[in-house]
Amino acid sequence: MSDSEPEAMAEADGVPSTKLPPHLELRRTRVLCKVDAPDNTDTIQYSGAYASLGHENSLRFADFCKDFRVDITRISDDDMELDMVGVDPSIANAFRRILLAELPTMAIEKVLIANNTSVVQDEVLAHRLGLIPIKVDPRLFDYLSENDTPNEKNTIVFKLHVRCEERGQRLTVKSNELMWLPKGSEFLKTSESLTSTSKPETYTSFTCSQDSMPEFAGNPIRVYPDIIISKLGFGQEIELEAHAVKGVGKTHAKWSPVATCWYRMLPEVELMEEIEGEKADVLKQKCPAKVFEIEDLADGRKRATVARPRACTLCRECIRDGEDWEKRISLRRVKNHFIFTIESTGALPPEVLFTEAVKILEDKCERVISDLS
């Protein structure tokens, strides 16, 4: 990423490298998706793998800097697609794993139920509340460790108090009803004796109101709206306080900042021979993803072309009918080009999530380096 000194590294190893023969180059860089099974799925990391051919297989920083590329192909508030080119699957996978399991978010961990006469049991209600994404930047908070007291730096408190007042009606309780309590818990600890002169103790000890903090002034903490929490019949009531804390997806999926996050390798569809005339039409018809298009040649003939290889879902329809089709078309995946999709739950925008993931990986690498030295 940093472009400080690529040249120096490149000069450092001066071994001349020959190009690999095309069939080996194909095996090195592509996954071949045949009818029965994919082939060449692994990557070759050993630097001397092609030493006998005079090819140097080690990863060079200069090459990496030259080849590495990140293009954002689609971005919206809660999801994005980006192309990551020039890395090994293990690196791309590391980002994916970090995004799923190691990026912290805030999620409801403790629910204090004062009253719940709904049909949803307390534990189930608490579980449902836990899974509601909270739209707040987790970087503004600390982890709540076991001996800590909940304070404004590590806890967000929400209140939910609903009651169905209308006879014969069903009230749907949605996540919008969760009210942020910037001053912390309102429930008093009952165990404290009433004679205490100090102000009554609650379940949190906030030193100041969260909405007085600059980050939240005029920007109240909200949860993802329109998630059904429960349904209430006439006279049923839910009164509770939910305490959200910081955590990572490894502990529980509710802390995962992404709905899901995955990548796929760039599809590459190659026509091994000219497909013309009727066969071209057949081929175009076969593909549900509309990968192929027909090109009119000058002499009135029709020829199939690969118009949208990226759309290939690997349904293998085009190579399904017999060996001759298998020979005509080669479906491949580029081993160092990843189409990465991040679907955020709303806590952080997807582009921030990705950069955060990079930071975490960086930290991990630094930790390894410092441990080694």
Binding site: T41, R96, P288
Partner: protein
């Protein structure tokens, strides 16, 4: 011979021998003819083996329903009561001097019938002396474990004869049970094939009045038996007419007679369940109107053309017609097993020929309710369907719509039950889609981690975090506020609170009673821990003796609190508390204690194809494989589960489910449903898959979550409906170090409930012997079990005792302690020696130096 004996023989002949043929005005002729016909049949069977009746043939069987059984019981009780009254009345009337008038109502034992019925229903013992009937287990408590268990239970048919018999005939599948009894649903083991279940459309008949039917038969040209000679009865061109096992007479044109009867039945002049069966072989027409026959509806066809036309079906769809209208209009009719022999039934309308008389309504109705849940059962190996029938009853899910208001002793609920993505028509008909017991899990069929051997499944931790397989187990605990014979009763007290102090200034119990309300009963919604008191009850010390009306003092009560005994570390919640009065008018307090569980390693899961397996390991989502479109499976199943089980239906379920989620339509997999459109064909499913960008064979290109590289095979992945079964490790896991022992043998107790030890059995012992691990045997069989020190006399070889005063061992038979050795023995061995001695057998121990 005396006249008395002759009279008795006559009365036996009249009343007991062939009791169904009644003797009117001392006319024994019908009985004679009946016997003659029986003999004729017998001879025929001897000459021709084909003429033999099959006792396993369903048409020769009758089901006993509750009404018949209860009427039998009532008749007996009523007659017993009458004879009792008669005896008493005779007693009273025989007295010479009577002061009061005879009042029969005074002689009636008031609730003898009620009590008799109640006793029979509660014990299940049907003892009817009059008919020498002594049957046990006639009543059962209806299973409410799951919705399907209930449905399966009410359609169950129990055999009368004992299960231990080693005959295969009654257990084998009978061709005549087609459409009447489910071919799949039968238990495994000793009752296999004997216990059956009704098919989906089976109807069991009840008794119908005989008189009008008999006179109708005579009107239709049946020649009365009374007017016929034996020769005339068996003329070649006439058929015997047998009505409910009674010979009415003969008919010269049996086919015409039968068709007239059937016509009358179709227009509703006689009951719809009356069966008319012409048996050409036996030259008989059987008419049956008795109860307990199984029958099923069929569409009537005239010369192979169905009577149900399009406008009828439209009316049915619009709700303008019902099934009963079809029956009333003579479009469908019920046929019993015997009459089916006179019908030519086409499976589908297009298969009908001009000879066809009936058309099946739907082939999937040959299966019962439990087998009806299986998608594509006709693609499975048949035992798998049988296994699923047994397993579907153990699945957790919804029990009934009022499940949260019921007070069952044990209730298993699923937190997020779903309806199956791949449904069947039976599922819709019985309402399993509304009260489901399972969840649609995305399954990848591949091997993973080695923790998936022996059908174990690998589960995705994030799926579990998000609520997959979560269940609620509720147990009922009850307490009774007992009233005693001396007028005293239990009382429930306000619990002591933290600041309360008793006379001694201490309050040790308040912590265990925090969950109690001020009324002394646990409050709903409170978390209950082991050793918490859930009812603060006190009982009077004196419960017997004279009636005391004085108010009791506090000191007259002793606490009889009930504490919750659950496993440590489980957090249970008091779900509901009900107060009601029991049958002795005591206040009864019932508590439902709820425990919500997430799946853990060892919990049992099963698909709907008899493929059960435990959860082998739980893996983080990031380690799970993922597909090109980001789909991550909920669980991974090992492909070795398929080849030997041959559950092709499961594979089709996966394909159909996958197509269902991609196109947004529920797919169907009713049994034999492909021709009629009640099951989707694999070709069509594959087409849908391709249209949505999947491979036609359901195999996806997956990336390893661990290395990030693509997997070296395409993985068969898609949704399968998975059931969580009620067997959970939490209820079964058990281990112990030292613990309780049995009083008699001083060996460790047996069983989890008694915190028992794990037995080193005979076979394990043999292994240790073979291995030569003598010290291990010594340790397991003695030191860790029941070591005991004994004094043995070397002179006489008997056991002595230790005299603590003299500090020596003494032999009680030699009367000295000269030759005493001390040795260790299992207590059970010492017990054996002494027990033998008590039986005058003297085991002597010969000791040698080691």
């Amino acid at each position: 011979m005396s006249a008395g004996k002759e009279g008795r023989a006559l009365s036996i002949l009249r009343d007991v021998f062939l009791a169904n043929v009644r003797v009117i005005k001392n006319n024994f002729r019908p009985k004679c003819i009946y016997v003659a016909v029986m003999l004729r049949r017998m001879m025929e069977a001897i000459l021709n083996k084909d003429a033999m009746d099959d006792k396993d043939y369903v048409g020769n069987k009758r089901l006993e329903l509750s009404g018949q059984l209860i009427s039998l019981l009532f008749e007996d009780l009523f007659k017993t009561m009458i004879s009792e009254v008669q005896k008493q009345a005779d007693n009273v009337l025989s007295k010479r001097s009577r002061s009061s008038q005879l009042d029969l109502s005074m002689l009636l034992v008031k609730d003898s019938i009620t009590l008799g019925l109640e006793r029979a229903l509660s014990t299940g013992n049907w003892d009817v002396k009059r008919f020498r009937m002594h049957r046990k287990g006639m009543t059962q408590v209806l299973q409410r474990l799951s919705f399907i268990a209930t449905l399966g239970h009410v359609t169950r048919i129990l055999p009368q004869f004992e299960k231990s018999r080693k005959v295969s005939g009654p257990r084998a599948l009978q061709p005549s049970q087609w459409g009447m009894l489910c071919p799949c649903d039968t238990p495994e083991g000793e009752a296999c094939g004997l216990v059956k279940n009704l098919a989906l459309m089976t109807h069991v008949t009840t008794d119908q009045e005989e008189g009008p039917l008999i006179s109708l038969c005579y009107c239709l040209g049946v020649e009365d038996l009374e007017l016929l000679s034996g020769e005339e009865l068996h003329t070649p061109n006439s058929f015997l007419i047998i009505f409910n096992g009674l010979i009415l007479g003969k008919h010269r044109r049996p086919q015409r007679f039968a068709s007239t009867m059937r016509k009358l039945r179709r227009i509703g002049r006689i009951g719809e369940f009356v069966s008319v069966f012409v048996n050409e072989k036996q030259r008989c027409v059987y008419i049956a109107s008795d109860g307990g026959r199984v029958c099923r509806p069929l569409v009537i066809a005239d010369k192979g053309i169905s009577r149900i036309k399009e406008h009828h079906m439209k009316g049915l769809l619009d709700g303008a017609r019902t099934f009963d209208d079809f029956l009333r209009e003579g479009l469908v009719e019920y046929l019993d097993v015997n009459e089916e022999n006179n019908a030519l039934i086409a499976l589908y309308e297009q298969d009908a020929t001009p000879e066809t008389t009936h058309i099946e309504i739907e082939p999937f109705t040959i299966l019962g309710v439990c087998a009806g849940l299986i998608p594509f059962p006709h693609h499975n190996q048949s035992p798998r369907n049988t296994y699923q029938c047994a397993m579907g009853k153990q699945a957790m899910g919804n029990i009934a719509y009022n499940q949260l208001l019921r007070m069952d002793t044990l209730l298993y609920l699923l937190v997020y039950p779903q309806r199956p993505l791949l449904t069947t028509r039976t599922i819709e008909l019985v309402g399993y889609d509304k009260l489901g017991a399972g969840q649609n899990a995305t399954v990848a069929v591949m091997s993973y981690s080695g923790y998936d051997i022996e059908d174990a499944i690998v589960m995705n931790k994030s799926s579990l975090d998000r609520g997959f397989g979560r269940c609620i187990v509720m147990k009922k605990h009850s307490a009774v506020n007992q009233k005693y014979e001396n007028g005293t009763s239990d009382r429930i007290l306000r619990p002591p609170r933290k600041d309360d102090r008793n006379k001694k200034g201490e309050n040790p119990d308040w912590e265990r009673m925090q969950i109690l309300d001020n009324d002394g009963i646990a409050a709903p919604g409170e978390i209950i821990r082991p050793n918490d008191v859930y009812i603060n009850k006190e009982s009077p010390i004196m419960t017997k003796g004279s009636l005391k009306m004085v108010a009791l003092k506090d000191s007259d009560y002793k606490p009889s609190r009930q504490t919750y005994k659950g496993a440590e570390g489980e957090s249970c919640v008091v779900d509901r508390v009900t107060l009601c009065s029991d049958k002795n008018n005591n206040l009864s307090i019932k508590f439902m204690i709820r425990h919500t569980r997430r799946p853990e390693v060892g919990d049992k899961f099963s698909s709907r194809h008899g493929q059960k397996g435990v959860c082998g390991t739980i893996v983080q989502q990031e380690d799970f494989p993922f597909s090109e479109r980001g789909i991550c499976p909920d669980l991974i199943m090992n492909p070795h589960g398929f080849p030997s089980r041959m559950t092709v239906g499961k594979m089709i379920e996966l394909l159909g489910g996958k197509a269902g989620v991609s196109c947004g339509r529920f797919h169907y997999g009713s049994a034999f449903g492909e021709p009629s459109g009640h099951a989707d064909r694999v070709e069509a499913i594959s087409e849908t898959l391709v249209k949505h960008g999947f491979s036609y064979n359901g195999k996806d290109f997956l990336y390893s979550g661990i290395t990030g590289c693509p997997l070296q095979a395409y993985i068969f992945m898609g949704p399968i409906y998975y059931q969580k079964l009620k067997h959970m490790v939490l209820d079964k896991m058990h281990a112990r170090g030292s613990g309780p022992r049995v009083m008699l043998t001083r060996q460790p107790t047996e069983g989890r409930a008694r915190n028992g030890g794990l037995r080193v059995g005979e076979m394990e012992r043999d292994c240790l012997i073979a291995y030569g691990a003598s010290m291990l045997i010594y340790e397991r069989l003695m030191l860790s079990s029941d070591p005991f020190e004994v004094q043995v006399c070397r002179a006489c070889g008997l056991l002595g005792y230790y005299n603590y005063k003299l500090k020596t061992g003494i032999c009680s038979s030699c009367k000295n302690g000269d030759n005493i050795s001390t040795m260790k023995l299992p207590y059970a061995c010492k017990l054996l020696i002494q027990e033998l001695q008590s039986m005058n057998i003297v085991p002597r121990l010969r000791l040698a130096d080691s």
